[in-house]
């Protein structure tokens, strides 16, 4: 008879305890195993969420422990949703979100497609390309502020090298028209490699036999791209969009370093606005309502998106 480690543990278990364990159903044992995780989930995720929802109906301020907490009903929600500044930050967030995703997917997929072709130095280029995403967002934000400096920044020199004119004639982070694009450019520079890696994984998962079969059927490269590559890489692309969408909805550090949300409110994204309300103005009740609105928005959009993703996967 072979004695496994489990057999040895069973033999070593004192008889009264063993009797108790033997009396438990499989379901009870399963609950014992998952209980710590459930407890942690409730304590760390669910309880704060419920507490936040509760606070969102009050005028509570965490920096005023001595002040009475009043129930204000839907007043916080009403103020947020009727505040034009909130809608401006939503607009800024939407601009940032849409353009970063579009650019990162297009460039990331193109890079992945190129790197998927076998050529000399392929690995070296992959390493070089992923370098930006290894940096801290605070560092990236900081050095891009120098790159964007009109007098000494490399960016303005490069642009005017091609377009002509004076490098100090425009300011990427000080101009209302350009600042939203300044943050899009930096985020795209930093996170395109992430999208590229996901796309590369998708492209490498397509079996060569499918392309060989298509070639036997005399399908052109163009047709192979649209009927094999894109459909089979689509779930990966959609996953990349989901990750980047969620991440960029929460974008904070990079933009704070670059523009501080300015000029004016031009690049104040919702996360920056929320942080100011919660931890600078200390309007805890108001910011809780704001957080709930954002949570519902992200959760709703993500749910719809995940359903679509699952449908694509099933095809």
């Amino acid at each position: 008879m072979i004695h496994t480690p489990m057999d040895k543990i069973a033999e070593a278990t004192p008889e009264p305890m063993a009797r108790k364990v033997r009396g438990l159903s499989d379901r009870a044992i399963a609950w014992i195993f998952v209980a710590p995780s459930i407890f942690l989930l409730l304590a760390v995720n669910i309880f704060p969420l419920i507490w936040t929802i509760r606070l969102s109906f009050t005028n509570y301020r965490v920096n005023r422990p001595n002040r009475d907490i009043d129930f204000v009903g839907l007043r916080n929600y009403e103020r947020i949703l009727t505040d034009s500044d909130t809608w401006m930050t939503m607009q800024a967030t939407a601009h940032f979100l849409i353009w970063t995703i579009v650019l990162q997917v297009l460039i990331g997929f193109a890079l992945a497609y190129l790197l998927n072709m076998k050529f000399k130095g392929n690995d070296m280029w992959t390493t070089i390309i992923v370098f930006p995403m290894m940096l801290s967002p605070a560092v990236v934000g900081n050095f891009w502020t120098f790159l964007y400096q009109p007098q000494i920044g490399l960016f303005n020199y490069v642009v005017t090298f091609f377009t002509g004119g004076d490098p100090s004639s425009f300011s990427m982070i000080g101009d209302v028209q350009l600042a939203p694009w300044a943050i899009v450019i930096v985020d795209t520079w930093m996170w395109t490699p992430f999208v590229m890696l996901i796309c590369l994984a998708g492209l490498r998962s397509i079996p060569d036999s499918i392309y060989e079969a298509a070639e036997c059927d005399r399908a052109s490269k163009w047709r192979q791209f649209w009927t094999i590559t894109i459909p089979m890489a689509l779930p990966f692309l959609m996953l990349a969009v989901l990750f980047r969408g969620i991440e960029n909805f929460k974008m904070f550090d990079l933009v704070v370093q670059l523009t501080g949300g300015g000029p004016g409110n031009t690049t104040t994204l919702t996360s920056i606005d929320l942080k100011r309300e919660a931890f600078e103005k200390w309007r805890t009740g108001y910011s809780s309502a704001y957080a709930v609105i954002l949570f519902v928005t992200v959760f709703g959009l993500a749910s719809i998106y995940v359903k679509a993703l699952n449908k694509v996967k099933e095809r």
Binding site: N59, S171, G174, V176, G260, P263, G264, N265, T266, R283
Partner: protein, 438 residues
Amino acid sequence: MNAKLKFTVATAALIGATGAAKAEDLTLCWASWDPANALIELSKDFEEKSGHTMNFEFVPWPNFADRMLNELNSGGKLCDLMIGDSQWIGGGAENGHYVKLNDFFEAEGITMDDFIPATVTGYAEWPKNTPNYWALPAFGDVVGWTYRKDWFERPELQAEFKEKYGRDLDVPNSLGELKDVAQFFQGRDIDGTTVYGAAIYTERGSEGITMGVTNALYNYGFEYGNPDSPYELDGFVNSEDAVAGLEFYKDLYDTATPPGSSNWYMGENIDAYKSGQVALQMNFAFIWPGVEADPNVGGGKSGYFPNPAGPNGQFAQLGGQGISVVSYSDKQDAALEYIKWFAQPEIQARWWELGGYSALKAVVEDPGFATSQPYAQTFLDSMAIVKDFWAEPAYAELLLAMQQRVHDYVIAGNGTAQEALDGLVGDWTETFEDEGKI
């Protein structure tokens, strides 16, 4: 009695004489800047004399308020002593973060009459203008101007300026003259380098543009409210004079500042000035010792002047801080010992020598003070004309609203100055309504 026994008896006597005070590890929290390094040096004397050990928690200015107010609001015990910004005094007092120091001052013979009145009102009192003290004035500071004296003295520039403006190129006597000087240098070639007029505060994220624009607003006639009816804002915050002040600041930004200076505060202004990019810089007085010591712009190349007068007076934005004992500290006795030590005239004199701006009258009214440093007289003149931002418990809300409204107009160029200040009245009114003050 042998030597060992003598030593033991002497040690016991010393401990007895000091009341067997326990040596504590004290932590002092402040911003990370030059004066903080001077304070470390100064505090060595306290460590020697008291037996306590001093630790320091310094946070860079842009994150200072966030980090430290979080600490206070969460009842944290990190800081035993806090050199908090002047605007925190209301919240520090009303929210129970600071220990009230009246009884301590009385017991130790420390009187606020010994300090510059503006610093007592600005850093120590809450409510303002009442004898309720929550801090000891620790570091006097005020916004002033630094200029390139060596450039101003160049004959060819003097001649050109005189021809253009009909007066000498000299320290400006009014904000209008300041703008002329800044515009004169804007885009000028000096020694083969393009230089610009003035580095002014434009920072969006924390308090920068507010600390800058108020130097124009005050002098044009902006008031925080009706002097006879607190919290009555309309017609004072957004008066015609205030609008003119805001327009002046925007014009200065548009016509006389370096390109790309849309998010500049203390550090950026220092860098621009020291690297020879600008002829003038607006900055708090704390930078002046560093300017004097700088190999590029120090040693007589720079001059200093108070914020020039506007059409309705001459004022300057107050900076600086008081030192408070944090109510959540378990080492309050040792922290109070530090304040007692710090308040001594000889320590304050040493503080000034090391680069700290003492607020003690005995130091600043000393006959040799005005000539002790090239910027000392400017510091005195500036401290005589200070005004401060709100120090209400809700100061952060008031500040952020102003940051947004002013930045949106001055830097982003959205709307008019009147609209910006009208919007500010709306924001501030809403805050005071929430606070139950209106």
